[in-house]
């Protein structure tokens, strides 16, 4: 066990975590240069394109140290986005050490800090690494100061590295051996293994990744997942190299995988504890949570006939992404579809993209919202959950409505404090704390309604801070708010998919903006289109799109017919992607983009 080193990597998006991890794989010859695709650990197309890690993975490396001993490293890769912070916390719990990778050209970001605090809470040994030091814009001294201030280390403990050139990789390897403690655990104790991730394989079912805290796991053991209470046989176990390597036993302190014939990801909960039925552990590993979706949006097929196809695709997606939830929903405007729950906006976008790319589904995503609680005035009625604006009772019947609040940490340069304050106050936020981390980095804490940051917050924050502000949040509680339902009508027909719950004081301005935005998003048609926003029966805003004036080519002779036919076919294909509401054709993207109100 003393030869094991289990560690994870904490880094902000784009700080070079994946590239540096790739260098470690190369250095230990875990992966040959020939097989090396950039970012070997990220194997979904979307991950590689977006340069982010969505699902965490693990890999075992072997390192011949100068002390003559061959060490086994388990590198546990973690997602770097705010939507996936629970998964990060479970990966961290499986480690004894963490590489803290900071981009020397950018400095510490909020997401890094919150994950770093998680690692410190779990008593992980932190090895700070300044990456991208080969870049001209690297601010080595300044960022070194930031790191020293943050974790209270000695500047000499910080390793300078470059994922691009491979500089510093050797030092990182040595530091892992010398500074990260070996896992402590009792091989003779009852089995206690922490599930920190799972993947879906269409041939083998769901594969869970675990770290053994105490005891050992043998092939063929009868096992129980403590939190779900379900029992299975350990059909296959093994360790994780670039591919899975079957083993008869996975020992205490090691990281491995287990295949039990589970067909649906829902059955495996990240954070759960595996034990044996024969000799069960007395308690589960702490920190298990059932992750709940934070954001809901409707997903509808563009063509109503594709409803069943969409259901199939969502079911398949759920097989390998247990955090996706969905239930059937019907909309007057959009017909039959699904109300889907996501961990956050990035998660929503990823699902939407995967539906399109992997399942070829042409979908409309509606404006996302958070979950509310409401209580009706009717006698004996109880507080109930509101997942869509349509669920909100008539205002005359409404006793109260509650919305979720979060605590947000924003880290930025001091010169952007003013505009960040303005943005957060505009989003009904309240500042509770302001701390200088270093003279050039300030951390601000706000209490904000989640609904206000679900949409259009992150992009605006990035733009007002020229990309410097970073942001992270944790859910706080539910609070009563004076919310009203804003409706949109197109040529007099209400479009339920465009309804939203907004604060009363902001409702009129919201209605005006949304009408204006729709005017930009809707193409001109053969007839005039009236766009109205209403609150209850009162119309608060109106825009008109005049009818299309000219849509005809001047000439259509012998040589023009082919080109013209192809042009009109393209036009028709474009129209087919739109949704007919009353007699108005609404482009697919309008339903989501309508709320991007600069």
């Amino acid at each position: 066990m003393e030869k094991f080193r289990n560690f994870c990597v904490i880094a902000h998006i784009d700080h070079g975590k994946s590239t540096l991890s790739d260098r470690l794989l190369e250095f230990t010859k875990t992966i040959s240069e020939r097989d090396m695709q950039n970012q070997a650990l990220d194997d979904m197309d979307i991950e590689r394109e977006r340069g982010i890690t969505i699902k965490s993975h693990a890999i075992q490396l072997y390192y011949d140290h100068s002390d003559g001993v061959k060490y086994t490293f388990n590198l546990i890769d973690t997602p770097g986005h705010v939507d996936f912070s629970y998964e990060v916390s479970r990966s961290i719990a499986a480690c004894e050490g963490a590489l803290l990778i900071v981009d020397a050209t950018q400095g510490i970001q909020a997401q890094t800090i919150s994950n770093l605090y998680l690692a410190i809470e779990h008593d992980l040994e932190i090895i700070p690494v300044l990456n991208k030091i080969d870049m001209d814009s690297a601010m080595i001294e300044e960022v070194t100061d930031q790191v020293v201030d943050l974790i209270g280390c000695d500047p000499s403990e910080i390793i300078l590295a470059s994922g691009k050139t491979g500089e510093g990789v050797q030092e990182i390897m040595n530091a892992i051996v010398d500074r990260v403690p070996a896992p402590k655990g009792d091989p003779k104790a009852p089995l206690q293994a922490l599930i920190f991730d799972s993947v879906f394989n269409s041939f083998r079912g769901v594969i869970a990744y675990f770290k053994i805290i105490n005891g050992v796991l043998k092939k063929g053991d009868k096992v129980r997942f403590v939190n779900t209470g379900k029992e299975y046989g350990a059909d296959e176990i093994g360790i994780l190299q670039l591919d899975q390597v079957k083993k008869k036993v996975v020992g205490c302190g090691d990281v491995g995988y287990i295949i039990t014939g589970i067909k649906e990801s829902k059955e495996i909960k990240v954070g759960d504890t595996i034990t044996t039925i024969e000799n069960p552990c007395s308690e589960a590993i702490q920190g298990f949570e059932d992750v709940k979706p934070m954001v809901f949006a409707g997903i509808f097929p563009v063509d109503n006939d594709d409803f069943e196809d969409l259901r199939d695709s969502l079911e398949k997606l759920q097989l390998n992404d247990a955090s996706l939830t969905f239930e059937p929903e019907s909309s007057v405007a959009l017909g039959f579809g699904f109300r889907c729950g996501f961990l956050g906006m990035l998660h929503l976008e990823i699902i939407q993209e995967r539906l399109d790319r992997e399942y070829n589904q042409n979908v409309i995503t509606t404006v996302p919202n958070v979950t509310y609680f409401a209580k009706s005035k009717k006698k004996g009625s109880e507080k109930f959950i509101v997942k869509t604006p349509a669920d909100l009772p008539d205002p005359s019947q409404l006793e109260f409505v509650e919305e979720p609040y979060i605590e947000a940490q924003i880290i930025s340069k001091p010169e952007y404090v003013g505009s960040i304050m303005t943005l957060c106050l505009d989003k009904r936020g309240e500042m509770t704390k302001q701390t200088y981390l270093t003279p050039t980095r300030i951390e601000m804490t706000f209490i904000l309604p989640l609904a206000e940051i679900v949409f259009d917050f992150y992009d605006r924050l990035k733009s007002i801070s020229r990309g410097y502000a970073s942001f992270d949040y944790t859910p706080l509680d539910y609070r009563q708010s004076d919310l009203v339902k804003s409706d949109i009508l197109l040529n007099g027909d209400p479009v339920d998919a465009l309804s939203a719950l907004v604060h009363r004081q902001k409702a009129e301005a919201f209605g005006r903006k949304i009408c204006k935005k729709l005017k930009e998003l809707l193409p001109r048609q053969q007839f005039k289109i009236a766009i109205q926003a209403s609150i209850g029966a009162k119309v608060v805003a109106r825009e008109t799109i005049s009818a299309l004036r000219k849509d005809v080519t001047a000439k259509c002779y012998g040589g023009d017919i082919t080109r013209k036919r192809k042009l009109l076919e393209k036009q028709k294909k474009g129209k087919k992607k739109m949704r007919q509401i009353g007699n108005v054709e609404v482009p697919q993207r309008a339903f989501l983009e309508v709320l991007k109100l600069d």
Partner: protein, 376 residues
């Protein structure tokens, strides 16, 4: 029944808006005229022996052909095809080329109809468009054509140009009336890629065409044709009774035609093909006894879409009976869309067909595409 189009790809100078295939260098002219004749011979069976009811010389500028060149082309045509006695033989000409001498050449030839590229009677417009003629030539050529004996001719006019005020447009139309022009082809100025105008608009050096102005001019045109008893038989074409263009009408009725010359298109009823739009390569290929061209076979839905697209542009419209007979597989969606468009007021019913309402003519493409059958 069939037609022949002959493309003469040369111009004296480039009009700023034109995206047809042409060259302002005359180096290859002799070789090209020879190549045209080779193609005529090579393609003599394309129309399966049908009698030729119309021949159209377009361009470019056909009036850049010499008398000898024109005679040679006609001679080759007669050797290869049976040309109907009453065939319409149209010749596009620019006003500056229509001297009395050249008109004499044309009168002696089989040409029996002229299409004159007047575009405007105003100097400002002609300069703006970079036309080769001036305002005086625009009027003179019409008198000269008549003097030479041409009664059947068409005049082209462009509207909606930034250089054309509403008042100027009205005066241009008034000239058409005063000169008793038997056939008018009138086009909204269109900004095309690959033209001087297109590049200026793209770079912001010149404003894009104002669709509101184009529409206004089109409405003025509609009032003009009604008042003066022209038949507005296609979006951009109007004629006094008996002067409708046979050749162009046949395009819209999807009657087969053979296109001769670089960039010329041909249609045999089921396939469309088009020659390479490069004079040198065109000549080279024919010198080697072959044609350089691309071809597309039309699917059932292509044929249906073309029927709708061309029919809606014309005053004979689209008919339920035709669809039921030729495209029964698309009948349901067709009837559904037809009802929707009638409801919107875009289409009106005539005796045996549906035609675009006057107010919908300027959005003809949008209405046509609503009917289109496309595969995902």
């Amino acid at each position: 029944m069939a037609g022949i189009y002959i493309h003469i790809p040369f111009c004296k100078q480039a009009c700023h808006y034109c995206n047809f295939h042409f060259s302002t260098s005359l180096n290859h002219k002799t070789a090209l005229v020879e190549a045209l004749q080779k193609e005529i011979k090579l393609q003599k069976n394309f129309l399966l022996g049908a009698t030729i009811e119309s021949i159209y010389f377009g361009g470019g500028t056909p009036s850049m052909l010499t008398e000898m060149e024109l005679m040679d082309i006609f001679s080759t045509l007669h050797q290869s095809f049976e040309i109907g006695k009453t065939a319409e033989i149209t010749f596009e000409a620019n006003p500056d080329d229509l001297t009395s001498a050249y008109l004499q050449t044309l009168v002696k030839s089989p040409v029996n109809r002229l299409s004159i590229g007047v575009q405007s009677f105003f100097e400002e417009d002609l300069k703006w468009m970079n036309r080769a003629h001036d305002a005086n030539q625009a009027i003179d050529c019409i008198h000269e054509a008549r003097k030479a004996g041409f009664e059947n001719f068409s005049v082209d006019l462009i509207y909606g140009s930034p250089s054309t005020s509403n008042g100027m447009w009205e005066k241009n139309l008034e000239k058409i009336r005063a000169l008793k022009i038997p056939h008018l082809s009138s086009y909204a100025l269109t900004v095309e890629e690959g033209t001087a105008l297109g590049s200026w608009v793209k770079k912001g050096k010149m404003p894009d065409v104002d669709p509101a102005k184009s529409l206004k001019h089109f409405e003025m045109l509609q009032q003009f044709v009604q008042k003066n008893h022209y038949r507005h038989y296609e979006i951009s074409n109007m004629a006094l009774e008996g002067f409708e263009a046979v050749h162009n009408s046949n395009y819209w009725k999807r009657i087969p035609y053979l296109g001769i010359g670089p960039a010329a298109h041909s249609f045999d009823g089921k396939n469309r093909q088009w020659n390479i739009n490069n004079n040198a390569k065109y000549i080279q290929a024919l010198n080697e006894g072959r044609l350089e061209m691309e071809k597309e076979a039309l699917s059932e839905s292509d044929l249906f879409n073309e029927y709708i697209m061309t029919g809606l542009r014309c005053d004979w419209g689209i008919s339920k009976a035709y669809i039921a007979k030729h495209f029964p597989q698309f009948n349901n969606t067709f009837e559904k869309e037809l009802a929707a468009q009638v409801q919107l007021g875009a289409l009106v019913e005539k005796t045996s067909s549906f035609v675009l309402a006057d107010a919908a003519k300027f959005i003809a493409d949008g209405v046509a595409s609503e009917f289109f059958v496309v595969n995902d």
